[in-house]
Each structure stands twice: as C-alpha cells, then as structure tokens.
Amino acid sequence: MIEARGLTKKYGEKVAVDDLSFSVQPGVVTGFLGPNGAGKSTTMRMILGLDAPTSGTVTVNGKPYRDHVAPLHEVGALLEARSIHSGRSAFNHLLSLAQTSGIPRSRVDEVIDAVGLRDVAKRRAGGFSLGMGQRLGIATALLGDPRTVILDEPVNGLDPEGIRWIRSMLKGLAGEGRTVFVSSHLMSEMALTAEHLIVVGKGKLIADTSMDAFIAGASRNVVRVRSVDNSALSALLTGPDVTVRTVDADALEVSGLTTDQIGMTAGRAGITLLELAAQQASLEEAFMDMTHDSVEFRPTTSTGAQR
C-alpha cells in the first residue's frame, strides 16, 4: 500500500508535482497514467526517497521508505532510464545490490533466469539493448521479493513477446497480494494491464478510479447514426443533455441518447437508418478528454507526438 498526502515537488519556480493525494492498494495492478512531463517519474522517485518532497508526505506500508529496515523487501523498483553502471556485468550489478540486504547469490540466479538474461548475465551491461536493460531493471525490482513493486514505463523497448511477459508478470504479482504500481504514457498498454487508474496531468491528480469507471465516464460515449435524411432526424433528437453534431459529412454523432431511443424515434418518423452504432470511448480517448488542458509539450505539427 502506497499513500501520498499533499505530495508536492517544485524545482525552483516549476511545479513538477502539485498537491497529489492518492493511495495504491495491494492485490490489483494500479496504472499511473499521464502525458510525458506530467510528474509520474518525479512522484515515483519521491516514493523511493530519492527526491525529497517540497511538501506533503508519501509512505509505503505505513512508513516513509527511508525508515524501513529491509527496504528491498518492502519495495522493488524499476526506475526511468537505466540505473545500471555500464561497465559492470548484469550478474555483478544484481549481486552488489543483493548484498546490501544480505540476499543470497541463489536469489540473484533466480531473478536472472526469471527475466531470461541467463545467456548475457556475465556481459557488461553497457552493451545491452534497451529491452535487455529493461529486463535487468525488472530483475533488480524482483530481487528482494518485495511487497510493493513500482515500475516506471516498464514496456519501453520491449518486443511484443516481452510486453506480454510483463503483463502476465504484473497480474501474477498483484494476484499474490502485492501492491503493483506501474506508470505509462501508453494508454493501450494500461487498458490491458491495469484494473485501477491514477491519472495525472501537469503534476495534478486528474482521476483516481477503476479502469471501467474511467472509460464509462468519458464524455465521448456517443452513438453514430447515418440515415437517408440526417437533418430531419436531428430535428427529432431533442431532450435535456442531448447533443447532435455532424461528422464525416453524412453521419451524426449523438450523445445523451441510447441506440434504442434513436432507433424508435427514427422508426416512428419513417426515416430509414443506414447505420446505428454505440461508440464506447477507448481509454485513449477518455484520457485525451481528461488531460486535454494538461499536456505540457504540445507538438506544433501532427507528427512527432509520440516519443
């Protein structure tokens, strides 16, 4: 269980994390979602005591991380970029970290096998691909058999097989009753993995909700309609909270009414429908709606939005 209360981090004038309060529960995968620069990594560093909050507190299982006597057993973390000395082999990297807590060599071998790095364990980490570096980071996170797992953008650089592996691992860890907190800027990834979502934008909390409620609550739950006479039909679709707008020249997007209601209305007026489909918002759309105002770096052209 991770609990943040009024967590704030300022770098000079710039507010990276702004009065964040949330809790991450054990037993489910909690996604930490937000655009690049939203303060996800800073928040995760504060959970681990690497950065000190400007104000507010964050605790792991009831205590600040720094006060735990067996920190690697409390939290296992994969941090952003690589936190690995490039001149050291994967095995020696893991061994040196294991030794700080008296974790035996056998456990080092175990996590190397678990992440599939056996063949390259004796090679210098500087020569690792991004995917291998991620796997080594995940091995580091698992070393202490932690009650809480924190992963910052774990799927970065992984191949499809690696991504599937991460997903099942995260669900497995949560299934064992651990607290699993995973950040990503990839909505599609979160949709497949997380049950609960904490969404941030510009350092502020935007949502702290279940995945299902997040998608259902998005404003883009609309019905797409095409008919032989769109203007006659749209005149009939009225009511409180009902909006109708024209899309794609010959289609309508209706919100506030169900497909049943629209179909009945059209039938009574004798307007033939060509298409009638409920369109549930994807997580991506829900996310874009909610973070619309909080994207820090908006690209000036439509290309190059993804890093």
Binding site: L48, V69, P71
Partner: protein
C-alpha cells in the same frame, strides 16, 4: 512467467552488508583493476628507471647534486604518478555512479545513503593501502639495490627512512580518499578531477605569486606541501613536521567528506 518468490530471510541493511556490496562493485569494474594496476606499475617501474639513470650518470657534474642526494626520494618517484592514478580512481568510483544512473539503484537499496559513503571510503582506502604499501616497499628495496652499485643506497633502519617509505604509501591512499570525497561532493567527473588537481598542484603555483613573506606563512599549509611532508626524509626548514603535515591533510579530507555527507543526506539523488 515462473518466478517463485518465496519468503526471504531477514533482509536488513547493515553497514557490514553495504561494505560487502561496495567490495563487489569495486572489483567488478575493469577501470578499477586497470587504474590500480597502473599505479603499481608506475611505482615499481620508476623505482628501476630513475635509480638506474642516476647510477649511470654518477658522479654528477654539479656538486649540489651530490650533497642533496636523496636515495629514498629517487627510488619512490613513481608515487608522484601513482597519486594521480589513485586520485582519479577515487573520483570515478563516486562520479561513475552518478553518470550512469547507478546511484538511484544504490540509494533505493540503501535509502539512508550514508552507509554507502562510509563503505566506499573504507573499501577503496583499504584496497589501495593493501596494494600500494607492498609496491612502495618493493620500489624502495629495488631502488636501493640499484643505487648500491655506487654505494649511494640507504637502509630501512636509518632515521626517518621507514617513516618516509610508509608515509609515501599513506599519502597516495589519502589522495585517493580526497578524490572520492570531491567526487561525492561535486557528483561530476570533470569538476571533481580538476578540483583535485587544482588544489594539489595549481594552488602552490598561485601562492608563488604572493610576496615572499606571505609565501612562507601560507605555503606549508597547502594540501600538497602538508600532505607530502611525511613522504620526505629531510624536509625544508619552512615545511610542517611530517606527521602534523599529514594530520592537516587528513583534516582537509575530513572536511570535504563531511560536506559530501551533509549534501548526500539533503540533496535529491
């Protein structure tokens, strides 16, 4: 995914465990092994080269060279270069963690941080002392055996000779610890190395620009002059006594390490 995550034995972080971890880190980097090896080769290599040159060109034309002949210093010229290798290594062992991001993994494992600094200083200090001391002893005896061909050698039993030989080893190790302290304080390789060599080798040049009566007051307290007093059999009238000079050098190191420890606890990693 077949990770079996059985219950661990006690996983407390202790100073002894952090020491073991830092020992693993030290021995698992090629750069460490090469720097230490370079220091040893320099010490022993110059203990052959310099005495051989002196013996081949004996007697020198300048009578002052005969009067001021320093058999200990001539056999241990390699320590001047070794102090640079060890000093740079001290810096790199600290700043290398910041440059690669390893420091985040280190501090996530040891969130109290200070045990890491103590362990690094302890492991590096002990390792370099264990390697440099025999090298300096070997260099001394090799150098004397070469000088003996012209009866220019001295012996371990003569006054202050043993002190100067062991003092040379201590001084080299102390420069390494100073480098490590500066690395922890500045967190940047270039900044720490230039500060280290600036403090050791450039400060004396600047002091030489001061009026001569000032020079006499200031010069002896400079890190290089204070620290190296213990490495000389005969010191100038103006220098500090060997052990008080080395003591002052240790105080400088303690101040740097103290500031680094304070910063380590307070600043974001």
């Amino acid at each position: 995914m077949t990770t079996t995550l059985e219950a661990p034995t006690t996983q407390r972080v202790t100073q002894a465990r952090v020491l073991r971890s830092e020992w693993t880190k030290l021995r698992s980097l090629r750069s460490t092994v090469w720097s230490l090896l370079a220091a040893l080769i320099l010490i022993i290599g110059l203990s052959i080269l310099v005495p051989a040159v002196r013996v081949a060109h004996w007697p020198p034309p300048d009578p002052n060279d005969v009067r001021n002949f320093d058999p200990v210093g001539i056999s241990l010229g390699g320590t001047f270069l070794a102090q640079m290798a060890i000093g740079v290594l001290g810096v790199l062992l600290m700043t290398g963690e910041y440059a690669t991001g390893m420091i985040r993994a280190t501090f996530a494992a040891v969130p109290r941080r200070l045990p890491v600094l103590w362990a690094k200083l302890g492991v590096f200090g002990a390792t370099s002392l264990v390697l440099v001391t025999p090298a300096v002893l070997a260099g001394f005896f090799i150098g004397q055996s070469i000088l003996a061909s012209k009866n220019l050698d001295t012996t371990f039993g003569k006054p202050d000779v043993a002190r100067a030989v062991f003092g040379s080893a201590l001084y080299v190790v102390a420069v390494g610890l100073l480098g490590m302290g500066l690395g922890a304080l500045l967190r940047n390789t270039a900044a720490a190395i230039s500060t280290l060599f600036g403090a050791l080798f450039v400060l004396p040049l600047i002091v030489r620009l001061l009026p001569s009566d000032w020079q006499n007051h200031v010069s002896r307290y400079l890190p290089l002059n204070a620290g190296s007093a213990v490495t000389n059999v005969h010191n100038d009238a103006g220098s500090m006594a060997p052990w008080s000079g080395f003591g002052l050098f240790c105080v400088y190191i303690a101040v740097v390490v103290g500031l680094a420890a304070w910063k380590l606890r307070r600043q974001d990693a």
